[in-house]
C-alpha cells in the first residue's frame, strides 16, 4: 500500500489535520481564557455553532471571507454576552446557563438554517490561502502546513501571544487572579466582573471564529449541529493544558492528526472500525493522564460567581 503514500496524499493528510485542528485550537484557547478567569464556559459549543452560522451568512452574502470570520467572531461574542450578562454580572449558575446556551443555539441555528438554506444549501468558493514564502516550498510539509488560510496562522500566532500575555502582562496577572482569588484582584482595584466579562467575550469571539473557520473553510457551508461536540473537546483541551496555550496547541494537533489518521488508515486499506480509530485520541489522553498522573490544577474559583464582600 505504500504506493498510496504519495506526496499529494500526505500533503492532503497534513492539510486536513490542520483544518480539523484549528477550530479545536481556537475553541481551546478561548476556553482557556475563561477558565483562567474562573469561568467555566460550558456554552462554548453554542458559541461555535452560532459563530459558524453568522460567519457563513456574512461570507456568503458579502463574498468576503474576512468579513465572514469577523462576523463569526462577533456571533460567538454575542452568545458570550448572554453568558456574560447572566453568569458574570448577575452570578447565575454557569453550568445551567452554559448548557442552556448550547442547547438553545443548536436549536436556533438549525431553525435558521431550515428557513434560510435548507432548500438551496449554498456553498462558498475555496477559501483564500496564504502560502508562506519559503516554508511553503518544502515538499509535503510546505503545502500541508504552510499554505493555509490566514486564520490558521492567526490561531498559531495567538498561542505565542497568549503565552506571552499570560506570563508577562497585567492582563495575565488579572486573569490568573480572577480565577484564583477574585477578592484579591478586587482589593487591588481591578474589577473582577470586568476582567471576567472580557475573558468571556474573548472566549466567545475565539469560539465563534473557530466555528466560522469550520463553516467557511472546513466545510464551505453551514449545516445544523455541524460543530459536533468540538466545543466540548475544546473544554477538555483547555483543562488539560493547565493554563499553557502551547498544550492547547499540542492537544488540538493530536485530535486533528488522529482525524487525518482515520482517513490514512482507511485509504491504506487497514480494516478497523472507525469507532476504534475515533477512540484513539481520547484513549491516548487518558493513558497519558494515568501514566503521568499529575495533580491537575484548576483555578480554585472556577465556576463560582464573585460577589464583592460576600461572606456566604
Amino acid at each position: 500500500m505504500e504506493g498510496l503514500l504519495t506526496q499529494p496524499f500526505l500533503t492532503a493528510l497534513l492539510f486536513g489535520a490542520v483544518t480539523a485542528g484549528v477550530p479545536l485550537l481556537l475553541a481551546g484557547l478561548g476556553e482557556q481564557i475563561s477558565e483562567k478567569a474562573g469561568v467555566l464556559n460550558i456554552g462554548i459549543e453554542g458559541m461555535m455553532l452560532f459563530g459558524a452560522y453568522t460567519g457563513f451568512v456574512a461570507a456568503f452574502y458579502t463574498g468576503s471571507f474576512t468579513l465572514g470570520f469577523l462576523a463569526g467572531g462577533v456571533g460567538g461574542a454575542v452568545v458570550a454576552s448572554i453568558v456574560m450578562l447572566l453568569c458574570i454580572r448577575f452570578g447565575l449558575n454557569q453550568i445551567v446557563i452554559g448548557i442552556a446556551v448550547t442547547i438553545g443555539f443548536e436549536g436556533l441555528t438549525a431553525l435558521l438554517h431550515y428557513f434560510q438554506f435548507s432548500r438551496t444549501y449554498p456553498r462558498l468558493d475555496a477559501a483564500p490561502v496564504i502560502a508562506l514564502p519559503g516554508l511553503s516550498q518544502i515538499p509535503v510539509l510546505g503545502p500541508g502546513l504552510f499554505s493555509h488560510n490566514a486564520v490558521v496562522y492567526l490561531a498559531v500566532i495567538l498561542v505565542g501571544v497568549f503565552t506571552w500575555m499570560f506570563r508577562s502582562t497585567y492582563v495575565g496577572l488579572n486573569l490568573e487572579s480572577a480565577g484564583n482569588k477574585p477578592a484579591a484582584l478586587d482589593a487591588a482595584g481591578v474589577s473582577v466582573i470586568k476582567t471576567r466579562a472580557l475573558a468571556v467575550l474573548s472566549t466567545g469571539f475565539l469560539a465563534g471564529l473557530g466555528g466560522a473557520y469550520m463553516a467557511n473553510v472546513g466545510a464551505g457551508l453551514f449545516v445544523p449541529m455541524m460543530t459536533g461536540g468540538a466545543g466540548f473537546i475544546g473544554i477538555v483541551l483547555a483543562m488539560l493544558a493547565r493554563g499553557k496555550p502551547l498544550w492547547v496547541l499540542l492537544g488540538a494537533a493530536l485530535f486533528g492528526a488522529s482525524l487525518s489518521m482515520t482517513t490514512a488508515l482507511q485509504v491504506a486499506g487497514v480494516n478497523v472500525p472507525t469507532d476504534v480509530v475515533q477512540m484513539l485520541p481520547f484513549a491516548m489522553v487518558m493513558l497519558v493522564l494515568v501514566i503521568f498522573a499529575r495533580h491537575s490544577v484548576l483555578p480554585p474559583a472556577l465556576g463560582l460567581p464573585y460577589v464583592r464582600g460576600d461572606r456566604g
Partner: protein, 359 residues
C-alpha cells in the same frame, strides 16, 4: 470548583410552609410564562401561531391520558440520571461522564437480557440485568475516581473523556460482539415486549418509572438524613474540612463515583428494559446535557428534581407533537427548553437573593 448552590444541611430557616409553597410555585410559573412569551415571539416571527403551538404542547404533554403516559415514561431515565448526578454533585464531584455510563449500561442490558429471557424467569432476568448495568456504569467510573482520589486529577476532564470513550466503546461492543445476527443494521438482539418491565395498570407506562421515583427519593433521604450523606456533603463543600474531620476522602470519592455512575448505568438499563428492548449502534440520546441543569435548578433536592423532570418531560413530549402539528421544525423545542432553563435560572437567582435577605 465547588457547588455554588445551597446544599445547606439542616432545615432552611424561616418557616411558613404555605408561603414557601407559594414561592416555589411562583419560582416555576413566572419563568415558564416568560419563556413561553419569548418562544411565542419567535413563533410569530416564523409565521406560526403560538397559541396553537402551546395548546398542542399542553394537550399532548399534560392533558391527554396518552400523552401523559409518554411524559411519565420519559421521566424514568431522566430521574435515574438525576439521582446519580445528585449524589455526585452534592459530594462536589463533577461527574460529567453520564452519557458514556448511560450507554454502556444500556448496551450491557440489551446484550444480556434477550439471551437470558428464554431460560430464566423475567423476575430474575430483569433485576439481574439492572445490577449488571449498575456494575458496568460503576466500573466505567473507576478510572476517573481513582485518578481523582489518588492523584487529585480533575474529574471533569477524566469523566468527559471516559464518556467520549464510552460512547464509542458501546458502538464497538455492538458492532463486534452483540450484533443481532438477524439484522443488517448494527443493533443488539431485541428483548420481546412481553418480557420487558411490566406496564402499570394497563397503561404504556412501565414499572421502571416507579423504580426511578423510589431511587431518587431514597437518594434524597440518603443525602439529607444519613451520616453517609452528610459525609459526602462535607467532602463536597470543603475537602480540607473533611480531611480535618478524619473522613476517608479517597474512599468516599470512589464510593460517590461508583454510586453516581451506577445509577446512571441503571438509567440505561431501565430505558432498555422498559422502552427500547434493544440498542442500536450510534444511538445516544445525550440525556445528560438536559438533566445536569435540571439538577442544579432543583438545588440538588430530589423532590424538586422530580418536579423539574416531570415538567421537562412534558415539554419534550408535547413540544415534539406540537411542532409536527403546527409545522415548525422539531428544533424549536430545543430553543424553548433553553429559554426555560435561562428564565428558571434567573428567577431562582432572584429567589436566592430574597431568601438571603430574609435570613
Amino acid at each position: 470548583m465547588s457547588a455554588e448552590v445551597e446544599t445547606l444541611p439542616g432545615p432552611l430557616p424561616g418557616g411558613d410552609r404555605l408561603k414557601e409553597i407559594g414561592a416555589a410555585a411562583a419560582r416555576v410559573l413566572i419563568p415558564v410564562l416568560l419563556a413561553l412569551i419569548m418562544g411565542g415571539i419567535i413563533l410569530l416571527i416564523l409565521g406560526k401561531d403560538p397559541l396553537a403551538y402551546y395548546g398542542y404542547v399542553a394537550k399532548r404533554g399534560l392533558l391527554t391520558w396518552g400523552g401523559l403516559q409518554e411524559t411519565f415514561t420519559r421521566m424514568a431515565p431522566l430521574l435515574l440520571i438525576a439521582s446519580g448526578l445528585i449524589v455526585a454533585f452534592r459530594a462536589g464531584i463533577w461527574n460529567l461522564g453520564g452519557d458514556g455510563q448511560f450507554l454502556l449500561g444500556a448496551v450491557i442490558t440489551s446484550a444480556v437480557a434477550p439471551l437470558l429471557v428464554g431460560s430464566l424467569p423475567d423476575l430474575i432476568v430483569l433485576p439481574f440485568c439492572m445490577l449488571l448495568s449498575i456494575a458496568t456504569g460503576a466500573l466505567w467510573s473507576v478510572v476517573p475516581a481513582i485518578l481523582k482520589a489518588r492523584y487529585g486529577i480533575n474529574e471533569i476532564i477524566t469523566s468527559m473523556m471516559m464518556s467520549f470513550l464510552g460512547t464509542s466503546f458501546a458502538n464497538v461492543l455492538i458492532k463486534l460482539f452483540f450484533w443481532d445476527p438477524a439484522t443488517t443494521v448494527p443493533q443488539t438482539r431485541t428483548l420481546p415486549v412481553d418480557d420487558r418491565l411490566p406496564r402499570l395498570f394497563g397503561s404504556t407506562v412501565h414499572a421502571g418509572v416507579l423504580i426511578a421515583l423510589a431511587v431518587i427519593i431514597l437518594v434524597h433521604l440518603m443525602m439529607t438524613r444519613t451520616a453517609f450523606g452528610l459525609k459526602l456533603q462535607v467532602v463536597g463543600a470543603n475537602p480540607a474540612a473533611a480531611v480535618h474531620a478524619g473522613l476517608n476522602v479517597a474512599w468516599l470519592t470512589v464510593a460517590t463515583f461508583a454510586i453516581s455512575a451506577g445509577l446512571i448505568g441503571l438509567a440505561g438499563s431501565v430505558e432498555i428494559l422498559g422502552v427500547f428492548g434493544t440498542v442500536r449502534a450510534d444511538w445516544n440520546p445525550a440525556y445528560g446535557l438536559l438533566v445536569v441543569p435540571l439538577v442544579f435548578l432543583a438545588r440538588f433536592n430530589g423532590y424538586g428534581t422530580i418536579g423539574f423532570v416531570f415538567f421537562f418531560s412534558a415539554l419534550m413530549i408535547g413540544g415534539d407533537s406540537a411542532a409536527r402539528r403546527v409545522g415548525v421544525p422539531q428544533h424549536f423545542v430545543l430553543v424553548l427548553v433553553a429559554l426555560l432553563l435561562i428564565f428558571l435560572a434567573v428567577v431562582e437567582y432572584l429567589d436566592h437573593l430574597r431568601r438571603k435577605k430574609v435570613r
